[in-house]
Point group: C2
DNA sequence: CGGATAATTGATAAGACTCAATACGCGTGG
DNA sequence: CCACGCGTATTGAGTCTTATCAATTATCCG
């Protein structure tokens, strides 16, 4: 199973999953899979910036829940390229259930604190509890949708559109501080590798947004979204 | 549930997803989900080229299995852009189980013959049969992997690399006729919208492959792969 | 055969990449 | 406390890939 991400699955089980386009996430009581886990505290582990949490191809033996910090899921190629599939935030889970080996490398973007649970425990849960399985499926489906949206972004959007889509997605996932403040824990390079662009293009696009008065850049790791509507218009992200 | 695609899970059979998970995914009898369905004949329905099978956003009431032909799953945007998430071939299934509405529009690439089953029947199966659920999960996982590969393609690869990756993927999925012959039922525009390129770029890249003696183009809808190794080298598709 | 659609090829331009040169931030150590 | 050095970010200049526009050819189908 691909990275589990509770944020994505926070939809009531009676609600159709498609009601939650990424960004419109209905709140849900922590139940099912994550609920059971969160009831237990789990062992803790911390990582420094750029530490590897686990590597692509290595056997899965734990499921993690992020307590603090940001994690990137990525792939590295022989020729030095890197592709970042997703960023995971506090509350998100990461692990791989029905795969022997990890599909991605997980790395700490900043200081990261994780709780982890042995894989066997997850397996037991899954076997014994139907609601856990249901939760799982919803998880899977919403993750799939998120990846589809990203596919659309990469296939159809220009640099600036991609960046705007990304910022809006981050905002809707709670990467935001107070009000318009958006925490950009990941570096420019990370964003570039996530959006299939170069670092320089990210910088230039950000500068354009700044010059247009759409965002302010108080410092490297924070962004003030002055005009969300303009961002939305620029992203043109809404398929259909 | 996203498009079900038996071909993907069959292709992964050398690396059985479920074998290693005694509890989570009990070894499924070869049939599982599709097996049960195929035992029943199902009603039939045929579509002409470019017919819409179902539309994005419409309620899901049937699950389809492709008897013959090729189906494309796509999204249309306001500004006339189109993104093709995937092509489905005979044997593949399409439908959405735990979604109220379709995530994609499904269209017939050529003449398509489908068997279909009411959604309620699928739901019952899913609720009552653990092996069906297992099969489902495997399905999901392999689909997820396929989409991840595609994401990598779109994020990191050049035009020619994308095309080579695509041809190889098609080949490995059995879109192939005898030996080196590859059936390209989809048009150039379809390929372009799948790979995030323009029609002209597809043509030019194909011409380059032809001029390099790597492929032959006997006619629009067939390709002879003269040098698969060269294709593989050009695709550079292997992450890590 | 003829008209429509799709594919191919050519010419040009725009967008994004690369290379290169600062500037900034931050931690370290004098 | 400041100077230094390293990594990252930013900005500029030039190039290259790919998109766009246009014209021609091929293919399909009635």
């Amino acid at each position: 199973m691909i990275a589990l991400n509770t944020k994505y699955s926070q939809a009531k089980s009676e609600q159709p999953i498609d009601a939650q386009r990424p960004g419109l996430l209905s709140p849900a009581p922590a139940q099912g899979f994550e609920g059971v886990l969160q009831a237990q505290r789990g062992a803790r582990q911390v990582f420094e910036r750029n530490d590897t949490i686990f590597s692509e191809g290595h056997p899965v033996d734990r499921i993690y829940r992020i307590i603090a910090g940001t994690v990137r899921l990525c792939r590295h190629t022989q020729n030095g390229k890197r592709y970042i599939a997703d960023f995971l935030l506090p509350g998100d889970m990461l692990g791989f259930i029905d795969q022997n080996d990890h599909l991605f490398t997980a790395e700490a973007v900043d200081y990261v604190s994780l709780a982890y649970y042995p894989r066997s425990q997850i397996t037991r849960l899954f076997d014994s509890d139907a609601s856990v399985r249901t939760h799982f499926l919803m998880h899977f489906a919403s993750r799939m949708m998120a990846f589809q949206d990203h596919l659309f972004t990469l296939a159809c959007q220009s640099a600036k559109e991609r960046l705007c889509s990304f910022l809006l997605r981050l905002r809707s996932r709670g990467g935001t501080g107070a009000g318009q403040l958006l925490n950009l824990s990941m570096g420019r390079r990370d964003i570039a590798d996530h959006l299939g662009l170069s670092v320089e293009t990210i910088c230039r696009s950000l500068a354009q947004l700044r010059d247009a008065g759409i965002v302010e850049i108080p410092n490297i790791h924070q962004l003030v979204l002055k005009d969300v509507e303009a961002l939305r218009a620029l992203s043109e992200a809404t398929a259909e």
